[in-house]
């Protein structure tokens, strides 16, 4: 069953069609990757699916229900969360507190109880902190729990965003370049983590530039160019697709493209 279905979606900015009639379907528990050259519209597509932008046309379905144009916080309640290409970390908070915000929807939200610090609020704080620690452990950041996010290294912040998104217990997780700017070791760790998340039943939609990683972990790959769909298929199908090779390295670079695409 497809958990997320995007139909003919699109948006334009000042006459430029950033995303133009793109459609795809993602099956439950899959890792679905979206690739394409810089400026192909991958992040814009994510912003449309996650409610950050309102699509000009087209529809988004989450578990069969039409969720087109719903705001991100409403989509979060319905089980969709995401990370960001450019870090969106709560820098004034510790790693644990960052992930505790991810538990927001699972928390009791009685304002009076919060102001009076009733025992229920204290219990809630303990529960959120405990589950935050579990998620930090899962992404390998257990040692950073009490570290202010502003003092954490870049690679750790990438994983912190994943932990925060996971803490919301999403059905669908959109990861926007989780390995960007990471070294080979960090990239490998993130690849393992993404695989683990999918194996545990969370559907992953991935935007990533590291082709080796994409080809290894993706169940399906969707290729964008200039806001339009270029190809879609399994990693193997996409890798050998002549149009994809052309888009990445030009007509005469098929051999090099084959190497670059893993």
């Amino acid at each position: 069953m497809s958990v997320i279905k995007v139909e003919e979606i699109g948006i334009s900015f000042g006459g430029v069609k950033a995303v133009d009639h793109v459609s795809f379907c993602v099956n439950e528990g899959d890792v679905f990757s979206i690739i394409g050259p810089n400026g192909a519209g991958k992040t814009t597509l994510f912003n449309l699916v996650s409610g950050v932008y309102q699509p000009k046309f087209g529809k988004v379905f989450l578990e069969g229900a039409d969720v087109t144009g719903l705001e991100p916080q409403v989509l979060a309640r319905r089980g969709l969360s995401r990370t960001f290409q450019n870090l969106q970390v709560f820098f004034r908070m510790t790693a644990r507190e960052n992930v505790m915000v991810g538990r927001h929807l699972k928390e009791e939200r009685g304002l009076l109880a919060h102001l009076l610090a009733l025992p229920a609020t204290a219990r809630q704080n303990r529960e959120s902190a405990a589950s935050a620690d579990v998620y930090l452990e899962r992404v390998g950041l257990g040692a950073y729990a009490d570290t202010p996010a502003s003092a954490m290294p870049y690679g750790a912040l990438k994983r912190l965003e994943i932990a925060r998104a996971l803490a919301a217990e999403p059905k669908v997780l959109l990861l926007d370049e989780p390995a960007a700017g990471c070294n080979a070791v960090e990239t490998e760790e993130i690849e393992k983590l993404v695989r683990k998340i999918a194996d545990e039943g969370t559907t992953v939609v991935l935007v990533e530039h590291d082709m080796k990683m994409v080809m290894r972990i993706s169940d399906r790959v969707h290729v964008l160019e200039f806001g339009k769909t270029l190809a879609e298929g399994t990693a193997e199908e996409v890798r050998t697709h002549p149009k994809v090779i052309e888009a990445y390295l030009g007509t005469h670079g098929s051999k090099e493209a084959a190497v670059a695409l893993g």
């Binding site: 969360s81 969106q88 709560f90 908070m93 927001h104 102001l115 609020t121 704080n125 919301a168």
Partner: protein, 314 residues
């Protein structure tokens, strides 16, 4: 986790001790009066700091709420014979409602635009108070009837010292409770990244409104307290300069620091009193000192000093 819980209460406990300890060293009624003014400003500043320091939303119109609180304990008892305590509560409820109505449209704005919109709100309130002379006495102000509780009349600077000190400590306690709660985390999160807060389910517009309403209640109660202490109130309490003064106290003491709110209020209330020794250079000195504070302790007095001390220890 236990440590975290007890840490939260350190600041209110310290403030309570401070209120009690200072009472023993106050040489005269004048000092009690100045201290009461510090506690009142501190209460308003704690509320404003929740909005500015924690949630990152600026307001240049908070004296508007302060003034409305002040005038409600002046007008409601005089016109409708309400008890001042009921008038204080009614004023706070009215300010909460007003903040809710005004906050909805203007909290969509960000940064400078929000600053200008709140500025406009503050000016609007102070204009109304100045112009509706039949109700408010206009620019000359109006008297406030004395507070009587169960036949006991609150009078004397020391009495008000304790009442305002108590209000301030309660305000600080509620604030630290809020900051350490799920609501507080949502507020601090949207300060750093609204979009990241939204994708994990935080209703950003709702939380901005909540903290705006809470900070308006703090300002209103502080305004009511000032009117009752002084026994007289003028539109200056709601004026633009007072709004700026409150914001300055937040920034000077330290954004996102409850203790800093009290320190910022104390500095800006006490310093002009101390600087009177410079006679005509008083305002010049005040300006210089504020600039020096901001240059030397750029994240505010309390946060800067605590980083400094933490750095020494490490």
């Amino acid at each position: 986790m236990r440590k975290l819980m007890s840490n939260r209460l350190v600041v209110p406990a310290f403030l309570a001790l401070l209120v009690v300890a200072l009472a023993f060293v106050m040489p005269s009624n004048f000092y009690f009066r100045v201290a009461a003014l510090v506690w009142i400003s501190a209460l308003a500043v704690i509320g404003l700091n929740l909005l500015m320091g924690f949630a990152g939303q600026v307001s240049l119109g908070h004296a508007g709420f302060f003034g409305l609180g002040a005038y409600s304990v002046a007008i409601l008892p005089a016109q409708f014979g309400l008890h001042p305590v009921i008038a204080l509560i009614a004023g706070a409820a009215g300010c909460a409602l007003l903040a809710f109505v005004v906050g909805r449209p203007i909290l969509r704005l960000k940064g400078h635009y929000l600053a200008v919109a709140t500025l406009g709100f503050g000016i609007l309130v102070s204009m109304v108070i100045s112009n509706e002379a039949w109700l408010t006495g206009g620019p000359d102000g109006m008297p406030v009837s004395r507070l009587t509780l169960f036949g006991w009349r609150a009078r004397g600077a020391d009495t008000w010292y304790w009442i305002t000190g108590g209000l301030m400590v309660v305000g600080a306690l509620l604030a630290v409770n809020l900051v350490a709660s799920p609501t507080g985390r949502a507020l601090r999160a949207l300060h750093d990244s609204e979009v990241a807060a939204r994708v994990v389910g935080v209703d950003v517009a709702r939380y901005k409104l909540i903290v705006f309403v809470i900070s308006a209640i703090y300002a209103s109660v502080a305004g009511s307290a000032l009117a009752l202490v002084n026994g007289f109130i003028t539109p200056d309490a709601a004026g633009f300069l007072h709004s700026i003064q409150l914001v300055t106290m937040v920034v000077l003491g330290g954004m996102g620091s409850i203790l800093g709110s009290v320190v910022g209020a104390a500095v800006l209330v006490v310093l002009p009193q101390v600087l009177t020794v410079f006679h005509e250079y008083e305002h010049l000195m005040l300006g210089f000192m504020m600039m020096a504070f901001m240059i030397l302790l750029r994240s505010g007095i309390v946060p800067s000093l605590s980083t400094l001390i933490a750095g020494r220890r490490a």
